[in-house]
C-alpha cells in the first residue's frame, strides 16, 4: 500500500494527458457529474458520490459506426487509442467487469475488445454512501476493487494508492509514492468503517433465485409496473445494461450503426411477424428485474446489478429496484 502526498487522481490525469492518453474523468455539469473526455486536468472535479450516467459508454458507446456503405462497403476496423478512465467508483468497476463478461466471454466483440484492451482503470474508493447506494447488498465493497489497475482512497491531506496490475504499476511508477505508514493504514480502516456505516439502503438477496423463480407469474409484477412509463432511463443509466440494436442509416449511402436499446421499449421485442413476446409494460419491467437478479445469475453465476442506485434516483415515477426485490411475494 502506497501513499501520495497530494491529489494523485488529478496529477494522474495530467500525466496521462501528457503521455497521449485519451482520458475520461468526472466533470461537473450544472447539477451533476458525468465522465467526459478531458483535455486539461483542471476540468476535472472529484467531489462527487457518483456520476449521473454510468461510464459504460467508454467501452460501449451509445452510437458506434460499424460500417460505411455507398457504391462500395467500407468496414470500420475495431481499434482504439490508449484510453484511461480516472475516478471510477468500485460499483462501476464491477459494471465494467460484468460488461467484459458479456462482450468478451464466449463470443468476442471486436469493437468492445479493442477499447477494453487499451483501457487503463484508475478507481476511486467511496468516502460516503449515497442515499440510493446498496453495493454492499450485492456482494461488493465501496472501497475495494481487484479489477482496477489502480485504486485510490482519499484521506484528505493525502491519497492511498493501491496498485492492482502491471499496467497500473507502469503508471504509478512515474509518481513519487511512499510506503503507507501504520497511521495511514489505520486511518484508511477507520474511513472504511465510516463508509460502511453510511449505507441506508439494502436488498435482501437471501434465496433470491428461488424467490424469483417462484414469483414469475405473480400479479405482483403488474402492480410494480402500474405507473411505469416505459422510458429508457433505468436501462440507459445502468452500468450493466448491454442491449443494443444495429441499423442502417441512409438508403443508398450511409452508415451501419450499433446503438443502445432498451428492453423497456415496446419495439425492442417486436418481431417482424408483428408478434411481441413482451407486449405489456409489466412484462418488460419484470424482464429488467429478472435480468439483473435471475437470468444473468443463471447464465453467468452472479448478479448483474452493482447497487449504484442510479435507476432508483432517476426513475421519474419512483420505481425502486431495491424495494421491488425486497417485496417479492413468496408462496405464489
Amino acid at each position: 500500500m502506497k501513499v501520495y502526498e497530494g491529489n494523485f487522481l488529478k496529477d494522474v490525469v495530467a500525466k496521462l494527458l501528457d503521455d497521449g492518453y485519451r482520458v475520461y474523468a468526472p466533470v461537473k455539469e450544472k447539477n451533476y457529474h458525468v465522465f467526459k473526455v478531458v483535455e486539461n486536468a483542471d476540468e476535472v472535479d472529484f467531489d462527487y458520490i457518483n456520476t449521473r450516467r454510468s461510464p459504460k459508454d467508454v467501452t460501449f458507446p451509445e452510437n458506434e459506426v460499424l460500417m460505411k456503405y455507398g457504391e462500395w462497403v467500407e468496414e470500420i476496423p475495431a481499434q482504439a487509442d490508449k484510453t484511461a478512465i480516472v475516478g471510477i467508483r468500485p460499483c462501476d468497476i464491477q459494471g465494467l467487469r460484468l460488461m467484459d463478461r458479456v462482450f468478451l466471454e464466449d463470443i468476442t466483440d471486436p469493437y468492445y475488445e479493442a477499447k477494453r484492451k487499451n483501457l487503463l482503470v484508475v478507481g476511486y474508493a467511496c468516502n460516503e454512501a449515497g442515499d440510493y447506494c446498496f453495493c454492499t447488498s450485492v456482494g461488493l465493497s465501496p472501497f475495494k476493487s481487484d479489477y482496477a489497475d489502480i485504486i485510490v482512497t482519499e484521506l484528505g491531506d493525502k491519497q492511498v494508492v493501491e496498485i492492482r496490475s502491471e499496467k497500473g504499476e507502469a503508471v504509478a511508477s512515474k509518481f513519487d509514492l511512499s510506503d503507507a505508514s501504520d497511521e495511514d493504514v489505520s486511518r484508511k480502516k477507520e474511513l472504511e468503517q465510516k463508509v460502511l456505516s453510511s449505507f441506508v439502503r439494502s436488498v435482501n438477496t437471501e434465496n433470491l433465485k428461488e424467490r424469483m423463480a417462484e414469483a414469475f407469474n405473480s400479479d405482483y409484477w403488474k402492480e410494480v409496473a402500474e405507473n411505469c412509463v416505459s422510458c429508457g432511463i433505468c436501462t440507459y443509466l445502468c452500468p450493466t445494461c448491454f442491449c443494443f440494436d444495429i441499423f442502417d442509416d441512409g438508403e443508398l449511402k450511409g452508415v451501419r450503426i450499433r446503438a443502445w436499446d432498451s428492453c423497456q421499449f415496446p419495439l425492442h421485442t417486436l418481431e417482424s411477424s408483428s408478434h411481441n413476446p413482451r407486449r405489456e409494460k409489466w412484462q418488460r419491467l419484470r424482464n429488467r428485474f429478472y435480468d439483473k437478479f435471475y437470468y444473468m445469475l443463471v447464465r453467468k453465476g452472479e448478479f448483474y446489478c452493482v447497487g449504484c442506485g442510479r435507476c432508483i434516483a432517476a426513475c421519474p415515477v419512483g420505481i425502486d429496484i431495491a424495494e421491488v426485490i425486497n417485496n417479492i411475494p413468496s408462496g405464489v
Binding site: 450544472k30 416505459s230 419495439l267 417482424s272 424495494e323
Partner: protein, 324 residues
C-alpha cells in the same frame, strides 16, 4: 398545510359515489419522503398521502384506466386537471367516468433541489410540510426549515392555473394564477447565435432515453415517428413495403438529431401542453425542456390568441375561418 389537505382528500374519498372502482392518488414511497402515484381501491383510502412532493401528474394513469370498466376518482392539482381536460377534448378520457377531486396547489417541490437542500438522509425523513412559505422537514426528532422559494419547481412560478378549472369537489381555497412569460421574454433577448449555441449545448447532453415523451400525458401516440421501425407491421406486410416505410429519425444520438427529436415532440404540443413539467422533471440529464414548451405556448397565445383552456382543440380552431 398539506397534512390538512390530506385529511380532506381522505374525507372526500370516503364519501365517493358508490360506482367508483378506482382512486388514482398518491402514496408515500418507501424509504423516501416523496409520493408516488398509485391506483387504489376505494377501501384503501388510509394508504393515501399528499405533500408538495406529490409532483407527478396522474392523467396518464387515468387514460390507461379508461380501457377498463368502472369509474375513476382522481386527485388532481391545477396542471393535472388541465391535462385531464386536454385528454377529454381529444376523446381519450370520458369525463362522465371521472370524478375529479381538485386540489388548489401552491406549487410543488423540485425533488432535485430538495435533495440538495435537506440535511437529513432520505430514509430518515418522517414528514415534509409546507407551512406558509416554509417547508418543514422532520427527521430524527429534529426539524429543518427550508424557504419554499429555494426548492419550488421553477415552472410553478409561472403557473397559470394553480386551482383546477374543472372538478367535482375542490379542496383548499382557490388561488389566482397569472399568464407570465417573463422567463421566455428574457431568453428571447439573446441573439440568434447565442440561442443556437445554447440549444446545441443543451441537446448534446440528451441521451434519447425518451423519458420526456413517455411521461408526457399528451404524448400518447402508440407509434412515434422518431422510433426506428415505425408504422404497423403484420405477417402480411411484404419486405419491400417495410423497407419503404419512412424513417424520420433513427437512433442516432447527436446534438442535431436530438434537436430534431425535441422540436418535433414540442411542436406536436402546440396549444395542448398542460404545463405540468413532467418532461423536465423526468429528464435524467436535466435539459430545460419547458423552455421549449413555454416558448411555443407564448407563440400560440400571441399569434393565434389561443389558450389551452378553450373548449375547442387548437388545431380545430385553426380550421375555422375568420369572418370576412
Amino acid at each position: 398545510m398539506n397534512s390538512e389537505i390530506l385529511e380532506k382528500i381522505k374525507e372526500e374519498c370516503r364519501k365517493l359515489p358508490d360506482d367508483i372502482s378506482y382512486i388514482v392518488g398518491f402514496v408515500r414511497k418507501r424509504g423516501e419522503p416523496r409520493e408516488v402515484l398509485k391506483v387504489l381501491k376505494p377501501d384503501e383510502v388510509d394508504r393515501m398521502s399528499f405533500s408538495p412532493l406529490s409532483f407527478n401528474n396522474p392523467a396518464r394513469i387515468v387514460m390507461d384506466l379508461m380501457k377498463s370498466d368502472g369509474k375513476i376518482a382522481v386527485i388532481a392539482k391545477g396542471c393535472d386537471a388541465r391535462a385531464l381536460k386536454q385528454l377529454e377534448k381529444e376523446e381519450k378520457i370520458e369525463r362522465e367516468r371521472l370524478y375529479i377531486i381538485g386540489v388548489s396547489c401552491p406549487g410543488v417541490i423540485d425533488y432535485r433541489k430538495f435533495r440538495n437542500a435537506v440535511k437529513f438522509r432520505l430514509p430518515e425523513i418522517e414528514s415534509v410540510e409546507l407551512v406558509g412559505d416554509e417547508v418543514i422537514v422532520k427527521a430524527n426528532g429534529e426539524e429543518q426549515r427550508i424557504p419554499f422559494s429555494e426548492v419550488i419547481f421553477e415552472n410553478c412560478l409561472y403557473c397559470e392555473q394553480p386551482t383546477p378549472k374543472d372538478y367535482d369537489v375542490l379542496i383548499g381555497e382557490p388561488r389566482e394564477g397569472k399568464l407570465d412569460f417573463s422567463d421566455i421574454e428574457e431568453f428571447e433577448k439573446l441573439d440568434r447565435e447565442e440561442r443556437w449555441s445554447y440549444w446545441m449545448e443543451v441537446f448534446s447532453k440528451c441521451i434519447r432515453c425518451h423519458a420526456c415523451r413517455q411521461v408526457c400525458p399528451l404524448c400518447y401516440c402508440e407509434e412515434c415517428l422518431v422510433d426506428p421501425s415505425n408504422l404497423a407491421v403484420s405477417p402480411m406486410t411484404p419486405a419491400e413495403e417495410k423497407a419503404a416505410y419512412p424513417r424520420v429519425l433513427g437512433k442516432t444520438v447527436n446534438a442535431s438529431d436530438n434537436m430534431v427529436y425535441h422540436l418535433i415532440r414540442v411542436l406536436h404540443h402546440a396549444g395542448r401542453c398542460a404545463g405540468c413539467g413532467e418532461c423536465e422533471r423526468a429528464c435524467p440529464m436535466e435539459l430545460p425542456l419547458l423552455k421549449l414548451e413555454r416558448k411555443l405556448k407564448k407563440v400560440v397565445y400571441e399569434v393565434f390568441n389561443y389558450s389551452p383552456d378553450e373548449e375547442i382543440p387548437f388545431l380545430s380552431k385553426l380550421d375555422i375561418l375568420p369572418e370576412g
